[in-house]
Subunit: 477 residues, 2 copies
């Protein structure tokens, strides 16, 4: 196996290396920005879907699927919302050699087609809350440099869209979505900051937008999800009108939230090391790999114990495989470490003699002997220990990625040297100051901490007028 | 609730009624042939995916996801294969207001893009067997009349594509796919006939094609899946070349197989009745619904028992809901019958007094009293009884749908009166005779029974020359 680019030396090279070699993505499709999600990548995303689907289920979301094609007139109805998407929208104009009467957009997001349906489904307050989730592929012909999972022209995502009879319920729904996403990111052991985006960066048509940003080890940040309180903006355009309990009519109050395969990029980027991926145990498609250590004449007793442990773990609902292929054990060690399998069990003649197995943790590379009777119990404990370890590393990464400055000189220095993670500072609230940050530092104001008001510690970092709020600035992918 | 069209009186009207009212599909999207898959439809399809994914897993298939966009040059490489698809292929020509340098097809099927990747992955015989499955949306701008789930312009499907080092392995793979699909259809309690398609109806580029056809109650048949032995046709075009153990080079031997949401249409059409859907218990997103029968002053004891039974069934891994909404029990009965929930549990004060619950089967409408201590056990037994009942109905439907004729007059009469299911007869093997059947009777030769040679019983039904084989003719959706 050729040597990896070191993660610390060149994060992006390391990322591209690991994504390719650990069976996550293959980019050699001859379709720019549209890649093959390989089996390991697919299976992790599939686990993410299952975790989220459970949360959608307990919070009474319904899964549905809406058309990929969007009639152009729907886009025209919502031109303010669509303006930002316009250059990225792919259009279908032909079927076979025949030109179509009307051209169709491929969904860059599904508000318009979904709300067109909602207007036909909702008549009275009793038809709400309506909470619909959609898993689908999204097409955005982004002209910036594409990067697998970080910036694709086709990607997989979940988008949920809700309708409520009162503005208060919409506010509550925003909070519910924050629980769904937050608890999901926690299960992925990801560090993240939840901010309310500045007004100028709010989703077009929304009252306010909440975003989830993960610090990556190279000091840039990655938006891994958003929630929007849409108020009645879309409902008025798409005529989602209902009769209230008292007989009056009103337009629905809406929210929407989405996250994509970018979360997979975050998991890879945050947890991985110079040997490859590290997948949190409860997210791993394969949790345990059993590798036999073979010596002449001892194959049978080793094979027997491997199979026993395999069955025992399967019965304990652990996802486990036994690799009895004729590759060397060294090759197997490398391969499963590359793929991020959280726990390896090695069984050789010595382990058989001693009445147990050797267990190796992917995260810390620790190895330990475990008695035969304690294998299941120890595996369970180890899953929790690995989860704790990854969460504590994530916590540290987040803490280390936040710094604070009060003068423009300090801010400039932060961004001059490197990508500094999140830089906390004071802002007057004017777009002009935000634009200056963008122009001079190639950085953006991410927003204010959600749900926690922080006191300003000085004047606006740009104009030195009175500051309105404490904001976090970063360079983002 | 308005009255249903009767299934026996007008099957297609009944189908469209039930599909809409049972939360399967909504067609009011303003995109012809592209519909919303509503929650009940989505959830049944999701169960189907899980059942198939388990079978793919135990047979060592890997799930992956390939791009929606297909470079036009790939299609040109495989023009023979694509000819049939050409009029149906949707093309993307623009991004925003800008015309693209190259236009892209939206996948009508994924052979070309997948085999382009395979040619980069396969170098030696040790890289095979390669078995990849893809779940995705498919776009075909069919110009015939669209019908929800039966003929859509966008639909969901699974397509698996495999590569092997020998032709024998490809033949074995065809058989494996037949086990995967056959056992899946059995779990759906569907009747089906497996035939080898006539040479002229073989998938372009394939050695032979095997198809699965379900008889629908209106006497038409529905193709619900296909398997193709592709031999080396595609491998030569896409250069999937490998080194054999002995050092020689050869092209891969391939197979592919697919099935779509049409299976959902078959489940609805075959099992449903004039009250709505009937979903086989192991396919049902909701297996048991608990409905309280409330009388003044007795609400509390009824509610208590409902909750107890709910918890008990949950713990027994039954998918169950307790509907304690304030709708009438009559409304609830209708609604869950419409949605096809296999078992209803009614609990009223009398049931509480007698120390048990009332259980109602969706398929036979039987109701019976079950002692409190036997609820879980009886539910389990009932699931199997319903499954057996639906399978035995399916068997009867298949048997009743097959008839046999030896003269053209008999054949003509069969198709003159109605849609006669499968008509078994003798054929010489000439395309001209098949074309006459198509032209005169608007019917098609489906093929010969797979894996069971049947002796001819007379001359070719059209030309009266010597017959080569026994074939099944039907009108299909």
């Amino acid at each position: 196996m050729s040597v990896f680019t070191k993660k610390k030396e060149d994060f992006m090279e390391w990322y591209l290396d690991v994504v390719r070699r650990a069976q996550i993505v293959d980019t050699r499709t001859e379709v720019k920005g549209m890649n093959v999600l390989l089996s390991n990548g697919y299976d992790i995303w599939d686990r993410m879907k299952k975790i989220l689907d459970e949360k959608f289920y307990v919070t009474n979301h319904k899964n549905m699927y809406f058309p990929l094609f969007i009639p152009e007139k729907f886009l025209e109805l919502e031109s303010e919302h669509f303006e930002g998407f316009v250059p990225e929208v792919a259009y279908v104009t032909h079927a076979g050699k025949k030109k179509l009467d009307k051209k169709f957009a491929l969904r860059p997001t599904s508000e318009t087609i979904m709300y067109h349906m909602y207007s036909q489904w909702i008549r009275a307050y009793t038809d709400m809350p309506l909470k619909v989730n959609q898993w689908c592929n999204i097409i955005r012909i982004d002209t910036k440099d594409t990067k697998p999972l970080l910036r694709d022209r086709e990607f997989q995502w979940t988008e949920a869209h809700t309708c409520h009879a009162t503005p208060e319920e919409a506010v509550e729904q925003v909070k519910e979505s924050m629980w769904i996403y937050g608890s999901f990111y926690d299960e992925c052991c990801l560090p993240y900051l939840v901010t309310k985006r500045p007004k100028y960066d709010t989703f077009p048509g929304a009252l306010y937008s909440v975003a989830y940003d993960t610090p990556l080890p190279d000091g840039k940040t990655l938006q891994i999800g958003t929630t929007h309180n849409l108020d009645q903006g879309f409902a008025k355009v798409f005529n989602i009108r209902f009769q209230k309990e008292n007989g009056d009519h009103d337009y629905a109050y809406q929210t929407c939230y989405g996250l994509s395969t970018r979360v997979l990029a975050a998991v890879i980027g945050v947890h991985g090391d110079d040997r490859g991926l590290i997948i949190p145990p409860y997210l791993a498609p394969l949790q345990v790999i059993i590798v036999p250590i073979l010596f002449k004449g001892k194959e049978e007793i080793v094979d027997k114990l491997c199979k026993e442990v395999l069955e025992e773990l399967k019965n304990a609902n652990v996802t486990v495989k036994y690799d009895d292929s004729d590759k060397t054990s060294g090759f197997k060690f490398n391969e499963y470490e590359l793929q991020g399998v959280p726990v390896r069990i090695e069984i050789g003649p010595k382990d058989v003699d001693k009445g147990g197995v050797t267990l190796a943790r992917r995260d810390t590379k620790e190895r330990m002997f475990v008695e035969r009777s304690k294998v299941v119990e120890t595996i369970r404990k180890t899953f929790n220990q690995i989860t704790d370890e990854l969460k504590s590393r994530a916590k540290k990464l987040l803490e280390d990625s936040i710094s604070e400055v009060v003068t423009y000189e300090e801010l400039e220095e932060k961004f001059a040297k490197t990508n500094p993670g999140f830089v906390k500072t004071n802002w007057c609230g004017d777009v002009e100051c935000a634009d200056l940050i963008k122009d001079k530092l190639r950085a953006d104001i991410r927003g204010t901490l959600y749900g926690k008001e922080e006191k300003t510690t000085g004047p606006c970092i740009i104009c030195t007028e009175e500051a309105e709020e404490v904001v976090y600035i970063s360079r983002a992918y």
